[in-house]
Symmetry: C2
Subunit: 356 residues, 2 copies
């Protein structure tokens, strides 16, 4: 959909750049016809599963995923709100814009299948940068065989905007929601929390060089697709969510949906050495980073106590790594943090609010 301008009223938002249709063609087919790809870099889009008609017609046409249910999620990334142009490369942005959606599919225990990508490009955005964005997006798409089946591209008079929608599929009997937690369940998290928020803070300070691990957690988060699939297949997970609003906030979503409360063991919370070091050097409140830091895209789940050992062992065998048990689901509402001395502190299970 475009606003037709009368003849003569030329739109020169992208002077000397590819036109809309050329840009789409290059994005879909890649610049490799003209220049050789980098070593080992993927160059072509995955064909994916069930794609009857991909981009180019009025709508994509997809075969239903057999006896599985369809999962669908969408996320919007806005320059100046979710990222700043000088924080990373276009390649980081391409990766991340897909990663945050794959993480949502992972959090339902699903297999990602297809994606749609819409871009609103402001004038400073060059063709080369769009192709760099494509490279990051494509790298991640190739890892999970996610086909690009459609999208939209337009000019933007302001920020860069990225809207991605992802389809996945899951066994209907094994879809993992936020609503299944029961008192006594072990609460676990897949990665030590707080790294992405710390990376963001380093970028804000303008001193990003020191802790590449923290930066990467923010700029290029790894969606836990294999773990989500293992959780669904193993049948030992009752509730699952991905950590986008912070550990306390996303645990709060599980507690609310499940009608339960929880306690976290302070001494059980895994601390990333780089985060500990950065927090000490900068006098940060380490606990706040770990409990409230968003954009982790790790998984947070609840497993029945009696199945915890088998769950953990099966993960180590299947994926070569386990997860971190950090607390228990309780019958009583609310979220408490239990300190080493046994003292219980009420903490707000709230998520980050975008408008506050």
């Amino acid at each position: 959909m475009t606003v037709k301008r009368p003849e003569g009223e030329g739109d020169s938002r992208r002077p000397g750049r590819w036109g809309e249709f050329e840009l789409i063609r290059k994005f879909l087919s890649g610049p490799e016809a003209e220049s050789a790809p980098g070593p080992g870099a993927a160059s072509a889009w995955p064909t994916g599963q069930g794609v009857v008609i991909g981009p180019g017609d009025d709508a994509a046409v997809l075969r239903p995923p057999g006896d599985r249910v369809i999962l669908q999620t969408t996320d919007l990334l806005v320059e100046g709100i979710h990222f700043r142009r000088d924080w990373g490369t276009p390649r980081h942005l391409g990766w991340k814009s897909l990663a945050v959606n794959l993480s949502d599919i992972a959090a339902m225990g699903g297999q990602p299948l297809h994606c749609l990508l819409s871009l609103a490009l402001p004038p400073p955005w060059t063709d080369a940068e769009v192709m760099e964005f494509r490279r990051g997006f494509l790298d991640l798409a190739c890892r999970f065989d996610v086909a690009l089946i459609g999208g939209d591209v337009t000019a933007s008079p302001g920020p860069l905007l990225i809207s991605v929608t992802v389809n996945g599929a899951a066994d209907p009997a094994r879809v993992l929601t936020r609503a299944g937690a029961r008192p006594g369940d072990v609460i676990w998290i897949s990665r030590p929390p707080g790294a992405a928020a710390a990376g963001l803070e380093l970028l804000r300070e303008g001193s990003p060089e020191v802790y590449p691990e923290l930066l990467e957690a923010f700029l290029q988060p790894r969606p836990e697709v294999e773990l989500g699939l293992a959780c669904a297949a193993g049948g030992r997970v009752r509730a699952l969510i991905d950590v986008s609003d912070g550990l306390a906030g996303d645990l709060g979503h599980i507690l609310e949906a499940s009608g339960v409360g929880a306690e976290l063991e302070e001494t059980a919370l895994p601390v990333l050495p780089a985060l500990k070091s950065a927090a000490r050097n900068r006098n940060w409140n380490l606990r706040e980073y770990m409990l409230r830091g968003g954009e982790e895209y790790s998984l947070l789940g609840c497993t029945p106590e009696g199945q915890w050992e088998n769950f953990d062992r099966a993960l180590r065998e299947k994926l070569g790594r386990g997860v971190y048990a950090i607390g228990r689901v309780r019958r009583e509402a609310g979220l408490v943090l239990r300190h080493a001395d046994g003292r219980e502190e009420n903490i707000a299970p709230r998520a980050y609010d975008h408008f506050r």
Copy 2:
């Protein structure tokens, strides 16, 4: 996905407004609990078909649409590019942002089923305006039983941005693409072209009062869902597209995909009286509006010559209206306009390019 801000660094982008989660709750459930809805106005979201889990978890969960294929399309609307805030009401925008996507599903001969809506809201956008937007979106969703299954909401430092994705379903043997046109086929269009571009020009001029019909064509386009379904069911349409880039441009898409050319009969092009009047009064180039005017969201199709009469009759019986035969598909590449005196003029089958 949100950028977590450290404690104390408050974000007051929406002072005195609902927070993110409250806004989503109101949007999904409606403001009717607090104030009575208008007469005859729909207030609740359609439940739609096949929705196992709607908004609120990490992803929506959908049952596959039986033995049908899934259609999927997405469109991005950006303030300052596709619309201006003072041109219409938020209700118009809500309607239109869904309409342009339903039109794409219609152009494949499909039944729309579900939608996802993402909004990036700039500071001046009030809660009341968001609810007005909701009303327009909801009005159209209710007409076609389209369920809202997910989305995202965020602040915007610049323009208002609306990203909508729509799922549909179609009989796999009857999906209508751009690629099936054959020499001799009758080319038809469902509405006289040019009205939306004229409405846009009136808004640009700041003199919108005179031609409400033209304004409405731009602000509140009617997606041709019933017509698209009738085309698919009847089996007498070989190629179909919706007119978003203008008659010549979208016909060009059909010709390119089908590997054919076409002739249009100038005398057969239906002229909307309001457009004719506006063009005369303002010294507009009427033909350019009709051939190049975008954002029509009418349907443009190709029907085998021998089936034309049955096609047209069946439509009149089923929908109470026919379509306009405007030309023929030819073997020779290119698009020509045949004038009343038999003279043929080559016209560029090009679409509007967003970046030029």
